[in-house]
Homo-oligomer: 227 residues x 2
Amino acid sequence: MRPEMTDTKGITRAERLAGEIADAILAGDLAPGSRLDEAGLAARYGVSRTPVREALRQLAATGLIDAKPRRGASVSHVTSRQLETLFVAMGEIEATCARLAAISMTPIERRRLEALHERMGETAARNEEAVYAEANVAFHTMIYAGANNAVISDIATGLRRRLSPFRRAQFRAPGRLTLSHGEHDAVVKAVLRGDAATAHAAMLRHVSLVEDAFEQLAQVAPHRAGG
Amino acid sequence: MRPEMTDTKGITRAERLAGEIADAILAGDLAPGSRLDEAGLAARYGVSRTPVREALRQLAATGLIDAKPRRGASVSHVTSRQLETLFVAMGEIEATCARLAAISMTPIERRRLEALHERMGETAARNEEAVYAEANVAFHTMIYAGANNAVISDIATGLRRRLSPFRRAQFRAPGRLTLSHGEHDAVVKAVLRGDAATAHAAMLRHVSLVEDAFEQLAQVAPHRAGG
DNA sequence: CTCCGACAAATTGCATGCAATAAATAACAA
DNA sequence: TTGTTATTTATTGCATGCAATTTGTCGGAG
């Protein structure tokens, strides 16, 4: 449940290894289905098998890799069916965050959300993909935090991480930036006025549309992890 | 995500240990705040420290225990504030499951839910606490399954486990059984007729009332878990 | 030619030993 | 007496070796 919140400077090798391996997977260096041999990883990272084992367990808990008792671990290769399940879950959780944010965001949080949203409008108008993508992460993170519920925001963060490799190019679709900002607008307006039900629905719709955008891209360039 | 939670007959010692320790915690044998000494546990369960370590990591991932890098692990003692956060999260997730169940339950699942609900009505009328409590677990599990989303039902199951020690006596309050059944009734009716929004609201209300019932009991017998 | 079984190789799970670090205590100075 | 520091101790993190189990291959029988 707690991947890491304020985890005390993961000084342990296992923690660092988990991060390294996760990055390698998310970056596509380790393709889905790749076998994660303990000895091999130990040699590759210059440590013994023990921290590798712990790192693998940790990653298995997040669902990033798939480990069965005596049969080793492999990069969990996500089927399109599972991917849809993940997107649906992500949508529901984000919608829940928006719902809670509408109820319990502090005035300061609302001001900051509004300010970020306006800035993103300008970014979208100038069609600056990279800048918008970065701000987008901040936007959603702000919604998670606004829920003022550590358990749910942890869940949301975990899901976001798992989906991150599939969201790389989500703003490539033509006109997606302004569309995204428009969808955000509905969410922000509802949150600011404290309309929980509408915030929920608006966020659900937004994430569903993100999923659609992904699927269109996926058809063009089927995912070989090399994203 | 993980196709199976009840992993392949946890043949490994670490898996079994994780279960044993979790049971000990949930049963109250290990009080919140208790230090979980690796060597001690290893001796107690007659194994070496290695599987104990892995079991502790596993439990830390579920939030049941709290492990910091060089400072060992201890039974995470839940503050009342965190407990409220957990209850809120549980409510939101369960409500989401109900929402999805209303949308995507198969006809067979709906029939079974209805049948169980009717049986529970009779049990409640006869005021059979233990039987009702067991059926209640099945009821909620059925809602999770009805969401037809493995990711979300996994999350719900995890939260339920974390909260289970605090729900033991939830049906002790006088008249709670028939009240519970009435709340279920609203959920079931909405789910059966495919009314997602109402199912969401009804389940949210139900879980909130469960939380209230808990808090009343908690005032009578405080857990000294607070801090 | 196919299928079944035994054997061999590789890999994981577990135990144990050592090193590193944090908590606890004792000693010393102000 | 109290505050600071050095030492001691206990516990975790890591490395390595061995045992158990799985998988792939080879041989033989049908």
